[in-house]
Structures are given as structure tokens and as C-alpha cells.
């Protein structure tokens, strides 16, 4: 016998199934978020990190970029089209200037187009220790990723100038 109570429970179960399917099914947005997580995890550095580990992490970050990739970070004069090796060298250099650093990405918005391309906006928050002083920085990042051979790779990255002197 179908009662209001039973119908309610059935509706809740259906909603739970739909929600679970939505959460579990793979999607381009999830794949891109995974790449961003890989970026943040490997950009971060512990105080006792070994050089080999730093090299491995830099390589992992560089692997997220298309070869070549357009990058625009005007504040540190790193603007142009760079090969994966150049990007890796730069990442190694920047990471080496920190004793320890934590990188987190917030407020990520992803817009996937039909042409295997996605526009991503996010806020990068960095906190760490450089020599004898604490370092904290926040930047807005605008990036384009393209699905190349099944992987979502950065094809352009730009630091948005929120405050300009």
C-alpha cells in the first residue's frame, strides 16, 4: 500500500541515488579540479623537503602544462610562451627560495566549453617562510586548460592584476 510516508521515503531514496550518481560519475570539471589539486599539493613544500623530492614535485607540476604554454606573471617579469622544461626550471627556482610554503586554491570556477577547452578562475593563497621572514600572498589566476590526449593541461595562465599601483 502506498502511503504518503512511504512516498516520502521513496522520494528521499531517489534523491540520494541521484545525488550519489552525480557525485560519483566522472566529469570534465572533476578531472580539472583533480589537476588543480595536484598543482596545489606539489607546489607546497615542507621545511625538511629533500632536493630530490623538490625535483619530483616540480616535474609533476610541469607535467600539468602543455608544451608550450602561455604564461603571464607581470609582477615577476615572467611573461611569454614557455616550454615545459622552462616552466619546470622556473618552478624549481621559485620553490628553492622558500624554506617552507603552503599553496591553497580557493573560489575555483570552471567553465567547460564543447571544444575540449575550459576557462578557470581561482584565488591562489600562498603562505610560507623565506629566509628569516614570513611570506603571505594572494593572487587571482585566470587559466585556460585544454583536453589533450585525454589529459587536461594548462595552455595559458595569467595572474590577474587586482590592485595596480
Amino acid at each position: 500500500m502506498v502511503t504518503t510516508k512511504n512516498a516520502g521515503i521513496l522520494l528521499l531514496v531517489l534523491l540520494a541515488v541521484v545525488f550519489a550518481l552525480f557525485r560519483l560519475l566522472p566529469s570534465d570539471e572533476k578531472a580539472i579540479r583533480k589537476q588543480l589539486t595536484v598543482f596545489a599539493q606539489n607546489a607546497s613544500k615542507k621545511a625538511d623537503e629533500k632536493p630530490v623530492e623538490g625535483l619530483r614535485k616540480s616535474r609533476r607540476i610541469a607535467d600539468l602544462f602543455n608544451d608550450p604554454c602561455r604564461i603571464s606573471v607581470e609582477a615577476v617579469d615572467f611573461t611569454g610562451t614557455f616550454s615545459r622544461q622552462q616552466i619546470m626550471d622556473r618552478i624549481l627556482m621559485v620553490r628553492a627560495t622558500f624554506n617552507a610554503v603552503t599553496v591553497k586554491l580557493h573560489d575555483i570556477s570552471i567553465q567547460v566549453s564543447e571544444e575540449n577547452s575550459a576557462d578557470v578562475r581561482m584565488t591562489l593563497r600562498l603562505s610560507g617562510q623565506r629566509q628569516d621572514h614570513a611570506v603571505a600572498d594572494v593572487q587571482e589566476i585566470s587559466a585556460t586548460l585544454e583536453k589533450i590526449d585525454g589529459d587536461w593541461l594548462f595552455t595559458s595562465v595569467r595572474v590577474v592584476e587586482v590592485l595596480s599601483r
Partner: protein
């Protein structure tokens, strides 16, 4: 003492569940859209706002008015999770500069009682573009290169601080 018991251990009735839902939804709407809680992380607005402090962003602060000199505004990046607190020092069309740590707007020195740290900042005069305001933190004790300041789009101002 009966009311204490009924307050902490209420009977789960349909009315109670409805009231609970309404209160939860209202609180969620208010604290996510109107009064956004902010935990201060950093030293750029010291001594006015100290690291670890707490305040709220009042979203309707500039609904009918425009940011003015001396206002502390909340500036967003790609969303609302990470924001900046900065003080408005110059408006569109005004000329701003620093001479030996002293702020000059339109060629006149500005009295800034909220600045407690001495600085040696030097910044050549520049005109604030239309649709923008010029913001600086209160803590001028740090090197200019390490301080986030400059002109920002009016559209990026989320609101003002409550205190």
C-alpha cells in the same frame, strides 16, 4: 525549570522542525549573502585590524553610496572566500603619491591617524582611473614592495566592514 528543559530538550513536532528549518535557512542567507564573517589573516591593516581578529563584511554598505576617503573596504578576488581589507585613500580622478612615507592626495598631505608605523615609502604621482579607487593598508611599517596596494575596480568592492 520546565522551560529550561523544553528549551534544551524540545519535543520534535512538525512545528518545531518547520521553525528550525526557517531559522537555519535565514541564518544561512544572512551570513552568506549580507553579513559575511571575516577572519583576519595577515598584518597589512595593523594596528586597526590585527592578525587573528574577526569582523563582518556588510554587503549593502555601498548599495546607495560610493566608497569615500578613509573607508575600510572588502575587496574580492575570484570569489568571497579570500578577500582583502584595505583603506580607501583616493578616488577616481585624484592624484595619489607617497613622499618619504607621507600620503599626498592632489598634492596635499593627508592626516592618517590610523597609521602608527613610520615608513619611507616613495611613490611617484599617479591619477586614479575612472571606475576605480585607490586603496592602501594601514600598516606602512613593511617594505612597499611587500605590501598589496593600488587602484582597484569599484566592482571588486564587496562591501564595508561592520567595525
Amino acid at each position: 525549570m520546565n522551560w529550561v528543559k523544553s528549551f534544551f530538550l524540545p519535543k520534535i513536532t512538525r512545528g518545531f522542525v518547520l521553525r528550525l528549518l526557517v531559522v537555519t535557512a535565514t541564518a544561512f542567507l544572512i551570513f552568506s549573502q549580507v553579513l559575511i564573517p571575516l577572519r583576519i589573516n595577515g598584518h597589512s591593516m595593523e594596528p586597526t585590524y590585527r592578525d587573528g581578529g574577526f569582523t563582518f563584511c556588510w554587503r549593502f554598505r555601498y548599495l546607495l553610496t560610493e566608497p569615500a576617503h578613509g573607508d575600510v573596504v572588502v575587496i574580492r578576488f575570484s570569489g568571497r572566500r579570500v578577500v582583502l581589507l584595505k583603506r580607501v585613500v583616493a578616488l577616481a580622478g585624484e592624484t595619489v603619491e607617497f613622499r618619504s612615507g607621507v600620503l599626498f592626495v592632489n598634492g596635499q598631505p593627508v592626516d592618517e591617524p590610523y597609521v602608527q608605523s613610520a615608513s619611507d615609502w616613495q611613490l611617484a604621482p599617479r591619477v586614479v582611473e575612472p571606475g576605480k579607487v585607490y586603496v592602501v593598508g594601514d600598516n606602512r611599517g613593511v617594505a612597499m614592495e611587500r605590501h598589496h596596494f593600488g587602484q582597484v575596480d569599484r566592482q571588486r568592492i564587496l562591501g564595508g566592514v561592520v567595525w
